[in-house]
């Protein structure tokens, strides 16, 4: 249980460990993109941790990173093909960022730091905790940027009609601003 909850708050991958910055900043132009990316990462993280934890005893120490990378790449490609086949809209919106999950350091980081040293049960709860933590982090980032950048949330208009969208919020600079503020808020709460 502790393995699960630490990823959600105390060791939050985005706001506390500052891992996986590339997807966090790049895809969160809308809340929906944030959730889709988060779900894809949960899937990859869960199955990679599962496999890595199962084969930890037979993988030679010298080639462990290569083996983990092959495993992660396999699951990422499966997600990519699945989205292209079933959800072409989401696949188009996320574009090249899905294949880039391969180099998302949260996944390799959790495989190396946790799944390869712990039993299956703890590894899976750790993966799910980190995955859901990443997911809500991206959803929050995406929501804030979408609300101020376009005046809507999940595609539904919520700001008054005369609201003038702050374009900077959906540009890369907005991503850094919102992330910085959220990290500051997290630090303040934890103090």
């Amino acid at each position: 249980m502790k393995n699960f909850t630490k990823g959600l708050w105390k060791n939050h991958p985005v706001f506390r460990q500052l891992l996986g910055m590339c997807p966090s900043l790049a895809v969160t132009t809308s809340a929906m993109n944030g959730i889709s990316m988060g779900l894809a990462v949960i899937f990859v993280l869960f199955f990679s941790s599962l496999v890595v934890s199962l084969i930890k005893k037979i993988v030679p120490h010298q080639v462990r990173i290569a083996v983990y990378t092959v495993i992660i790449a396999t699951f990422v490609t499966i997600v990519d093909l699945f989205l292209k086949a079933q959800f072409p809209e989401i696949s188009r919106a996320l574009g090249p960022y899905i294949p880039l999950i391969i180099v998302n350091c949260i996944i390799l980081g959790r495989c190396e730091a946790f799944a390869s040293k712990n039993n299956l049960r703890s590894s899976l709860s750790d993966a799910l905790g980190m995955g859901f933590g990443f997911c809500w982090g991206l959803f929050l980032l995406g929501s804030i940027r979408e609300i101020f950048g376009t005046g809507s949330i999940l595609g539904i208009m919520i700001m008054p009609a005369n609201y003038n969208p702050l374009i900077i919020m959906i540009l890369p600079a907005g991503a850094f601003l919102v992330l910085g503020l959220l990290v500051a808020v997290m630090n303040k709460i934890e103090e």
Binding site: T29, I55, I58, V59, P60, Q62, V63, A66, V67, V70, I71, A73, T74, T77, I78, L81, F82, K84, A85, Q86, P88, R92, G95, P96, I167, I170, L171
Partner: protein, 184 residues
């Protein structure tokens, strides 16, 4: 020596298993992906030429051209795919022209990897609508300032590369399609 064999065999085994798994998933997904791509082109055709009831797919000199005709089976124009290098990756568009290749009826981006918020605006109306009824008797020119005149397109602010890529791809492609259609 024993160690080398162990390392090599584990790595090979992992790669083989992953490869097989991917082959299976690819086999299951590929058909659906191809259907989705075709559907996207069909959708784009309906948007650009709603009056085209009959669409005939021609293959001339390895190029695919959609011959569009209305209810009375009169030829109203041609549709074809134009793709070229954009800022981050390939831009693939569907173009619909009149039957004499004198003007473009419209373009629709079917695939692109341009920057969200900047280059991705090539898919949005303000940019796309500039191509509606655009004369193509001369090459299209992409301009940065001023109001665009005949055969001119105003580039998206902050995404000149993407805008130029669209225009250049179109010019090249229209030339080629014109050659093919004149010959046949």
């Amino acid at each position: 020596m024993k160690e080398v064999i162990r390392i090599t065999s584990v790595l090979t085994l992992v790669c083989i298993i992953c490869g097989l798994l991917l082959a299976v998933v690819y086999g299951l997904a590929n058909e659906k992906i191809e259907i989705n791509k075709e559907k996207r082109i069909e959708e784009a055709l309906t948007i650009l030429a709603p009056e085209a009831i009959n669409v005939e797919e021609l293959t001339i000199e390895t190029e695919t051209i959609y011959k569009l005709s209305n209810q009375k089976r009169n030829l109203i124009g041609y549709g074809f795919i134009a793709s070229g290098q954009g800022y981050q990756g390939k831009i693939k568009m569907l173009v619909v022209t009149d039957k004499l290749l004198e003007y473009i009826k419209g373009i629709e981006v079917v695939e692109s990897l341009e920057t969200p918020g900047l280059g991705a605006k090539i898919q949005k109306d303000p940019f796309k609508n500039q191509f509606r009824n655009l004369s193509i008797t001369k090459d299209i020119i992409c301009i940065k300032n001023d109001t665009p005149k005949e055969s001119q397109i105003k580039a998206i602010t902050g995404a000149t590369v993407s805008s130029r890529a669209v225009v250049n791809t179109l010019n090249k492609r229209i030339k080629r399609i014109r050659e093919i259609l004149n010959k046949n």
